[in-house]
Symmetry: C2
Subunit: 255 residues, 2 copies
DNA sequence: CCAAAAGTGTTAGGGATACACCCATGG
DNA sequence: CCATGGGTGTATCCCTAACACTTTTGG
């Protein structure tokens, strides 16, 4: 079976499945961090010059949150990832530019006119925080291109996915939690400078080096490890690691 | 037509309507404030000893947020109300205790077995902030009892509505905004003490009288009006009013 | 020894907290 | 004139911002 034929088969199975909750979908804004830049992971539709946030549908007998995790896994092979619901998008016209329809036409897959894929649907938006260095493997069952984009250099996006990314980022900024964000977006070991650059990328503003260090250390959520020698002619920075919740010592309880 | 027959008619029309988005609903946690207590507005199902948060369905050609406002109006005759989405509830088992089914049985309305009302559905949760003193008029088209409940004395609730109320309250606490909450939950004019009691009810903890006053006044979002004489033998408190956004003078820009 | 970057110290200011005091009101 | 509750003043603490200084590293 050729690649194209396989894709067609997968797509056909998808729209003919009766087990999905109709008129409802899930979309997942995946944030990563690399070289001082905040990134989102996007997929490109086959044969179309449009990108989108990874999404999927909900089985009739599946919890919404489970469907989000499954969708994320199927589209990116990521599991055990920080995942949080942030907003449900329900404007009537949000799916007007119906990419799915074009896709089906391209592949000559016939779908009845009143099939729900042609109608409006409402999408529950999730965001995920993933370690950029771990996300090198992606499936190609839909033969979409999968790529990280800098948050400030997004390509043309399908539906209302641009708004989704913006709203997801705002949510991230507003509900900023040092431990959750740092421990999910950075590799296991990191320098203070890397951690600082992460927060600067998310907040979109510079922070003072020494004050940032003091503040984050006072939270007692980091463990200082060995020094990291880069070979450059300056003092070597320490590496740090986020403590597990069980390791965290709150000074208030230390007597 | 008797009351009961009318109710039956309404219910019948509801389930036979083809224009709703299937498997999806809206629920609205309505917060009010009265006599130093935070309240929620609940409806009682006819013939059942179960209460619920006002809810409704979404028309196929209707924006999600518009549907929430319409639902709120239909159930409570409230309009121009502060309304905000906070979470979408999608566990498979959340509607297992199917109140709708019992209701239909009670009224002897036959619905086909595979009608969506019998299946799982996902509900988008909104919360509303309303002035308790304005909410004296309610429709009775479903002949439900409509009543305010103290947040700490909730009756038995249908589905996962207890969880909804809790989650809505948490959202309110976390994203507390003095202006939005105060100006929607209090009448137009109020004393500083009333405002303080409102925040104490929401936060669930006592605040210091004088510090609270200083803090809220420093925000420059209040206008001091005439004194309010209660007849008691003590200094009369001022009345205050929230400024419109256009009236607010930010000290940073005053030169 | 020097430049570059990391780590630590030190001071000033703003906001929150806790306490105290004065003022208006009606009996 | 007194009890009561409302309004304002003030000292303290703590967190943060801003700046300065010391330490480490490889050339």
């Amino acid at each position: 079976m050729t690649e194209n034929a396989k894709n067609k088969q997968n797509l056909k199975e998808l729209v003919e499945t009766k087990d999905f909750v109709e008129h409802l979908s899930i979309d997942c804004v995946i944030f990563g961090f690399h070289k001082d830049k905040l990134k989102v992971l996007l997929l490109k539709y086959h044969d179309l010059d449009l990108w989108c946030v990874p999404g999927g549908f909900i089985f009739n007998d599946e919890n919404l949150n489970d469907a989000a995790a499954r969708t994320l896994y199927e589209r990116t092979h990521l599991s055990n990832v920080y995942l949080e619901q942030f907003y449900t998008f329900g404007d009537v016209r949000r799916t007007e530019n119906n990419v799915h329809q074009k896709l089906l036409e391209n592949k000559n897959i016939a779908v009845e006119e009143n099939h729900w894929i042609h109608q409006r649907y409402i999408s529950v938006g999730y965001f995920a925080l993933v370690d950029y260095t771990l996300t090198y493997t992606f499936p190609d069952s839909f033969n979409e291109v999968c790529r990280w984009f800098d948050i400030s250099e997004l390509p043309e996006l399908a539906f209302d996915h641009k708004e989704m990314i913006e709203k997801g980022l705002l949510h991230l900024r507003k509900n900023i939690d040092y431990q959750v964000m740092g421990s999910n977006l950075l590799p296991d070991k990191f320098t203070m400078k890397e951690l600082q650059h992460l927060y600067e990328a998310i907040l979109g503003e510079p922070l003072r080096r020494n004050n940032f260090q003091r503040k984050i250390l006072s939270l007692n959520i980091l463990e200082r490890l060995e020094k990291h020698f880069t070979g450059s002619a300056n003092k070597a920075p320490y590496l740090y690691r986020f403590l597990d919740n069980s390791e965290i010592k709150n000074l208030d309880f230390d007597k």
